[in-house]
Symmetry: C2
């Protein structure tokens, strides 16, 4: 341990961007409350960023600024390194080197942890240092602490998360105010709620990375986020949003994980969920994670999933946890995954084609007799039975939308039936289908 | 420390009732997952209860049962004592004696902690033992951990809680299915959702006790739950529930705390809140706690606030936390309030009469001209301005209900205006008023 003085714990920040600025603000503005709780001062000793000139609206002494991240990790008086530069390149090197030097680490880097978590966590164990990462999922919502500690006594049966604020903002706007995906996205970009390149958010990649972290914590494993079936929201249309409402559903980009026998279901896609469920009413930039444990039943955590101060709140909570460990000489009190290294195991992800669930399917069909009979015939041949049908006089280029909600069906059967149906001459355009989750728990 | 063997940590249970049975079930059924996470076995070494004969549907070895709680606290091999007998008498003695013997304590006893918290927590500090109490508020919801740890970096600006399942069940039923309070209560009693003597729940006493604990954690103080203004739900009528809906509100029994300057607002009463807020949609036996922090913004935690397994989930999470401390020699890593003893201070509770908020007021008035003018005249003389009025042709014994929603008004002015108005000869019956909270945060 670089630092022995228990009345002051020195921290160093690498990455003075939005969240980094929030961390500096909290450490200054809430210094009193932190000292009252931790019994020590948290001293920000160095900040590294490539830009040390820009005014970020918070005062810092000029002499703690540096452009060299290694000045932070090489400072023998710094006990905790806060990595907020993001990405999987330099961030990884800096974190690994910091741990080599006996530093504890706080990071919000979901991309890095979802891809290189095992290597990083194993080094933390070997070096006897802590790595905390509450801000990597759900912004200010203490969901990682809940999984590692608050729900520690539970087998996690399922997790449903709205964990990307940009995608949820766009879908909420489309649902509440109308508009096409492209237009709503553009307005979100103008307001700063979406990046110039929005693909990481709207294609579900960010959600899949975060889901991988939640799965690793819940089941004591390391899944590859690339193995999680991932579908974005670009193809969600107003037509489907309106039909969803008629069926009593809302469409949300959900991260879904379920424990099934000894394997797990893991997927990210636009999902229809009952309109009365609290997740359906999680709108705008809010995030929510609904978890079902075998003892606790349904628990949901809700809050701001991004933004300067909420994310910084989580980062500083991690700093506080590590300070509490330092003061008691209790590093590694909890392993990063909350499972002991011996207990970490491989857990297979079930292939999406083997899953069974209800589906919403929308066809654009010629407006003539016998259409429903032909379609239901193909579905029947694939063991897909129909729960309800809506057909309305809404002509779209000579065709009318026909919407079917199915009972539980296998995805593989659904897909082959769609291929067959798309070949029918009564069908115009591609068939759209959206997966439904009926029994999330709680308000269902 | 009585126990040195780190591969097995012995716990003793006092109180083998509903929650105690849940704890035994979790320790058996989820033993594997606990070992995988804690790196040690949690061994239930003794159970004390006055009834050691009854079949509780879970197998325990006969020789670990005793009718004498002191056998548990005197066992030198037991490290953690779980107190689940409730009440402020024997439970207190057993907890104090257990700590005297160097045992850590887990309890769900909100009545005891809200009244004798200071004495108990100060002894824990003196003896260097831990006392954890997650199950005392919000059942399985990890709200105490959130306040002590997850939101540690925040000044808590406000807390709004639905933290009594019985009262929420009754109000939800009345709202969704109709019925008078007395009838819904009786059916809740038949279903086991309400006690034979329901006063502790429906009069708001339980809610006030829990609110006191939340306030103590949020602000590092010890408030007297008797100083919290407390009003129950027995007087909530169908008429008011329906009018609330017309104004876009729902009625919930809320625990409310706000930091105002250097003092706090603290109160428990039926409250009208916007129907779109997630708290308004927290129905049945579910609990929810909405907190606003100066960094994190709005955070809400939602789950089952009572019941065998949810409450036991929280008790076992506390056991796990203490085991993690024991294995690192890190007792008192976090103080019970999360504030250091030096930082604990007295915080005054503002008198209800000095608070300012909007009100819903219902009069039963004679159906003749000039009524509204007289009533609004009295309100105006007390600086109470009207936001909206509903008067409908719903004759109730020769009179019609007249409903007024006010802008912000002082409670003391409201009360004196009500006294004056009740004396008017146009008014029949007592005037009903219900406090409104418009700006809770998040979905508002």
């Amino acid at each position: 341990m670089a630092q022995r003085d228990m009345d002051r714990i020195n921290v160093g920040l690498i990455g003075f961007g939005t969240v980094g600025t929030g961390v500096v603000k909290i450490l200054k503005e809430n210094a009193g409350i932190l000292k009252d709780k931790l019994g020590c001062e948290v001293v920000l000793k160095k900040i590294a960023d490539h830009d040390i000139v820009r005014d970020r609206g918070v005062h810092v002494e000029q002499d703690i600024l540096t452009t060299d991240g290694r000045e932070v990790i090489n400072d023998p008086e710094i006990s905790i390194v806060i990595e907020l530069i993001g990405g999987t390149g330099a961030a990884k090197d800096l974190i690994m080197e910091a741990m080599d030097r006996g530093k504890h680490v706080v990071t919000a880097n979901k991309a890095l942890l979802s891809i290189h978590g095992r290597e990083i966590f194993e080094k933390a164990a070997r070096k006897g240092v802590d790595i905390y990462f509450e801000a990597s999922v759900g912004g200010g919502i203490p969901v990682i602490k809940a999984l590692r500690e608050g729900l520690v006594a539970n087998r996690i049966e399922s997790m449903y998360g709205i964990i990307n604020g940009t995608a949820n903002y766009i879908l909420s706007k489309m649902t509440n105010d109308g508009g096409r995906f492209e237009d709503v996205l553009r307005r979100a970009q103008e307001k700063g709620y979406a990046e110039a390149d929005p693909s990481y958010d709207v294609e579900g990649i960010d959600t899949a990375n975060k889901l991988a972290i939640l799965i690793n914590l819940a089941y004591g494993t390391y899944v590859n986020p690339g193995d999680i079936y991932t579908e974005g929201i670009a193809s969600v249309s107003q037509l489907d949003i309106k039909f969803a409402k008629e069926f009593g559903y809302r469409i949300k980009l959900l991260a879904i994980a379920k424990a099934v026998d000894s394997r797990i279901e893991a997927r990210v896609h636009p999902t229809m969920i009952p309109a009365s469920h609290p997740l359906a009413n999680t709108d705008g930039v809010y995030n929510a994670i609904h978890m079902r444990g075998n003892a606790v039943g349904s628990v949901m955590l809700y809050g701001l999933g991004a933004g300067m101060m909420p994310t910084a709140s989580a980062v500083v909570a991690d700093i506080a946890d590590i300070c509490r460990n330092i003061r008691k000489g209790a590093a590694n009190r909890i392993t990063p995954l909350s499972y002991t290294e011996d207990a970490v195991r491989e857990v297979g992800i079930k292939d999406i084609s083997s899953l069974e669930m209800p589906y919403y399917i929308r066809f654009l069909a010629m407006d003539k007799p016998g259409v429903l009979s032909k379609i239901s015939g193909v579905l029947g041949a694939h063991n897909i039975s129909i729960s309800s049908v809506i057909q309305k006089d809404r002509k779209i280029g000579g065709a009318v939308p026909l919407v079917i909600v199915t009972h539980n069906a296998f995805e593989r059967e659904l897909r082959s039936s769609m291929e067959e149906i798309e070949k029918l001459d009564i069908i115009q355009d591609k068939v759209v289908y959206i997966r439904i989750e009926e029994n999330i728990g709680a308000a269902n």
